[in-house]
Symmetry: C2
Subunit: 243 residues, 2 copies
Amino acid sequence: MTYCLAMLLNEGVVCLSDTRTNAGLDNISKFRKSFTWEVPGERAIVLMTAGNLAITQAVMGLLQENIENPQPGIETLFSATSMYRVAEIVGDAMRVVQGRDGPALAQMGESSTASIIVAGQRAGGRPRLFHIYAAGNFVEATADSPYFQIGEHKYGKPIIDRVITVETPLKTAVTAALLSMDSTLRSNLSVGMPLDLTVIRTDEFRISEARRIENDDPSFDALSKGWSAALRRSFDEMDALWN
Amino acid sequence: MTYCLAMLLNEGVVCLSDTRTNAGLDNISKFRKSFTWEVPGERAIVLMTAGNLAITQAVMGLLQENIENPQPGIETLFSATSMYRVAEIVGDAMRVVQGRDGPALAQMGESSTASIIVAGQRAGGRPRLFHIYAAGNFVEATADSPYFQIGEHKYGKPIIDRVITVETPLKTAVTAALLSMDSTLRSNLSVGMPLDLTVIRTDEFRISEARRIENDDPSFDALSKGWSAALRRSFDEMDALWN
């Protein structure tokens, strides 16, 4: 399993992913699921992946291959003229990989399901956030629904639903993302540390922050414990409300 | 969908269920999912149901039929000599109904999945809590895992995992159950008001509290709003912890 969460705010974009992958409960590995590209001052892009690891690695590989060995007429994450085009390029790469590997996987009764979150900003445009499906089609986040989750989304959703709007300060959104992840880590063993946190602040056109949060990170540990303590204090307040 | 939650505490048993059922998103109804039986001073039993409504109604109907038209040699919820026997009787009724309806449902490609929570206390025994599966087999809650959820369990699980142990005071457990339900109601439209709350206090051998919580219940509304407010205040505290 996987849990990736991306939020689109007026102040920028917050992306958070775990690193656990598993082929069955008895075969657990660690793979990065967040990938970034930037041309400082011009564009900053984050992709996060969930689903069949061979599929998502192939999509990332194809996107990177096209950057490193540019072909005339083939647009890349670095040459795309808008974030919308970036989403289309990622969707097209998904279709290429699904076309290559999907039928053989289906024949084996294996799933090729995968999804990718695309977030970022390019000079001339605003920050944008997309959710690319296995068929290569995609939806875009709006002020009404300013966040996307892929993978194990349920445990960490209530906390986000209660707090996040496009007006939420970026710092608070980071806290909410970490607490959403903390709830998921506690309840689903197939989501695991370390975490990758990526922040792109509006109009900075760079990866403003890229931080790997290890298992023994003292800030995350303090946050996790602080949140448990705060919830317990809040419970005591709530007891007085229920008669 | 459905959300039912039962907790086994030193002070007693707390059961909470929603009332929404749906056959597809466009066919939503309201059905009670909590059922109680008591012989004051001798036994108190709560059953909560999830899954195929025809299956769970048939199980409840069969259990009630055996009470109203007692047959020699057929044990009922009222004559069972222990809560363990109650769990077996419910499991047996599940098997009878699955045997009657399961094959025809399977032939139509329909699911006969269902699960039932059994909670209660009989004189001479301690309060006990069981989770009956569609095959009629069951597991029992212990001090290590003192609660069961059936139906849409994910949204409301983190809050329970953080708070509930067998030592949790019953009043606090009720609050936690209501907040767990509140989180689920917010995130899954197929779980809906009103709610049925049932409490059996240890050694009272009666349904200590049976309360239907309607959509406009002022206490539940205050709890829901108070919790949102408390979470927001807690966030502000958390912001200071993350650097």
